[in-house]
Amino acid sequence: MNLAYLWGIFLGSLHAMVPIILTGAGEVIGESSGLFNIGLEGIILMSAMTGALGADAAGPIVGLLVGVGTGFAIGLIFGSVCTYFKGVQLIAGVGINLFSLGLVTFWLIHLGVPGHHAVAEEARMVDISTPLGDFSPMIFVAIGLPVVIYVLLYRTKLGLKIRAVGENPQAADVAGINIHLLRLLSTAAGASLAGLAGAYISIDWLGSVTKEISAGRGFIALATVVFSGLNPLLVLLGGFIFGFFDNLAVWVATMPAVQKVIPWQFVSMVPYVVTLLVVTGVIGRVRFPAAMGIPYERE
């Protein structure tokens, strides 16, 4: 067990944290405005699919953009159902998850490769090679983005408005803010980042699409948002913790020595157990927007 080995684990964790941070930081915007989107899991899955096809057709950058666009489009559907049409957010989110799982599986079969679509080598993101190892450029995006979102939410007028519609939509309405529109755009912006996360998984990190590719990451991101108490900077920390355990599970699965003691199935449980424990530990110390989850209706 030398230093290079530990460094390798650290690098792996960095790659594994990216989708959690991107999705979680995006969801912070949406939840600040009052919309709770449990459809993130489906958005990640769908964008992993569309992003991979986009990358196959026109390269990795286009692939990432297709992923973002897919997330944005689904975010608009979810957002309009939950704002203008006063839909129940949890149910709408479940609908999106079911739809995405069905369509991606359908799509994979349609492509003639049941279960698994590999992204062509030349369509994948190129890592930045340094003497310290290969870094995906998306790692830096994932580290920078929460800072940008923090500034947006807590240091700008727009951020104040977003938080106002989540906290007290009645007052925000009186102040002349378009509640529905702002909520719609906030959740769609958040969903685009989940889309980016999905495309990152298929184009950059894992290099293939399967119907299990999102592997609960949308829900882990939701848990990270709970852990953060809507502070994007804490999403960064939470994302790294989960990235570490996620990566640890993969790493242990390849170690015959460890496997003899602990079967891989138990190691694979660890990220989910940790998520549950962390959420249990911090809950009660965080508070959420007063109007979260409630459709806004003028009296």
Binding site: G95, M269, Y272
Partner: protein, 350 residues
């Protein structure tokens, strides 16, 4: 009646969008839907398969519905179902005499489901952990637990890809020979009726619905929230565990779980959709489960004769659920008709 209308509208939208997607991918929607219908309700065999599919779905839908009536979003049926199925198989390892084996299989499955729902209830009641997060995490944990048990403990010594089969004497007998339909369907129907009576004819049922309708008022009326939470999740766990049991003990041909759990996976989440389509009412759920079981049976036919992948069914289901989230779906339709009519007329004239 409005509830039924709403379901029909959402269904119509779901099938229309589904047809659009089928066309988009270059298949024929008419032959696809014809095959779907024939495969679901075309003859006695098809209908029996639909009912067989409905058997576990009724139970997992009840899990969600009990929670939903109490204002909770219990999506833990998936994991509790795994535990129930595993427990039912585990009992058959002990080669018990027929009646004992059968009864213990059911009892252990039901208990396993309830035990697996306990952490959710306790975390919610004591720490306020939202059940969406805890149930999803437990679903994943139980999946890996199941993978381990299937591969290491319950594995069939002769066929490594599956668990041992439930002993013949501990299985439900077939209701219609030559099909997958067993007497297990009656277990599901009775469970639905019991849940109906529980929710609408007992004090605790009234408390649950009051809590779901207006938690503040229910608390002021002196109802103890933690008791209701505990009751809701345990009852939900019981039905989900039972779903696992009726699936492995009542579904031919193998009466076992394969590695990767292809036949068990998704039954919990599909139950959620069934509950939504059945408007979270036990009687509605029975019909919704038969309808949805029919889609799954018909989906196979659609895949065979129109080459449209079976997963299309889930796409339609997702859209239906998305639209069912809209409370004023009926008003939305009349609104669309109002703004839609003049446009249509204009385009016809020009």
């Amino acid at each position: 009646m409005d509830e039924l209308k709403k379901t029909i509208i959402a269904g119509a939208i779901g099938f229309s969008v589904g047809a659009l997607i089928i066309m988009l991918y270059g298949y024929d929607p008419i032959s696809a839907y014809t095959a779907l219908f024939n495969g679901a309700f075309g003859d006695l065999y098809a209908f029996s398969e639909s009912l067989a599919n409905a058997t576990p779905l009724i139970l997992t839908a009840l899990t969600f519905a009990i929670g939903f009536r109490g204002g909770m979003f219990n999506i833990g049926a998936e994991g509790q179902l795994y535990l129930g199925a595993l427990a039912a198989v585990t009992v058959s390892l002990f080669h018990l005499p027929s009646a004992t084996g059968f009864a213990l299989g059911l009892i252990f499955a039901v208990l396993a489901g309830a035990v697996w729902s306990l952490p959710v209830a306790i975390l919610k009641a004591t720490r306020g952990v939202h059940e969406v997060i805890s149930t999803i995490m437990l679903n994943w944990i139980s999946q890996f637990l199941a993978f381990y048990l299937i591969a290491k403990i319950l594995v069939d010594p002769l066929r490594a890809e599956k668990t041992v089969s439930v002993a013949e004497s501990a299985r439900f007998s077939l209701l219609v020979p030559g099909t997958s339909l067993s007497y297990a369907i009656f277990v599901s129907l009775v469970a639905a009726i019991i849940v109906y009576l529980l929710l609408w004819r007992t004090v605790i049922g009234f408390d649950i619905r009051a809590m779901g309708y207006n938690p503040l008022a229910a608390t002021y009326a002196g109802m103890e929230k933690w008791k209701i939470i505990l009751f809701v999740f345990i009852t939900g766990g019981l039905t989900a565990g039972l779903a696992g049991a009726v699936h492995v003990m009542g579904r031919p041909p193998t009466y076992a779980i394969y590695s990767g759990m292809p036949s068990v996976r998704g039954l919990g989440f599909e139950g959620l959709a069934v509950a939504m389509i059945g408007r979270n009412h036990p009687i509605g759920i029975i019909f919704a489960a038969i309808f949805f079981g029919g889609l799954l049976a018909g989906g196979r036919m659609m895949q065979l004769s129109a080459q449209v992948p079976l997963e299309m069914v889930r796409v339609v289901e997702g859209i239906v659920v998305l639209f069912l989230a809209i409370p004023e779906l009926i008003r939305l339709l009349s609104f669309l008709r109002k703004i839609g009519t003049p446009v249509v007329l204009r385009s016809k004239r020009s």
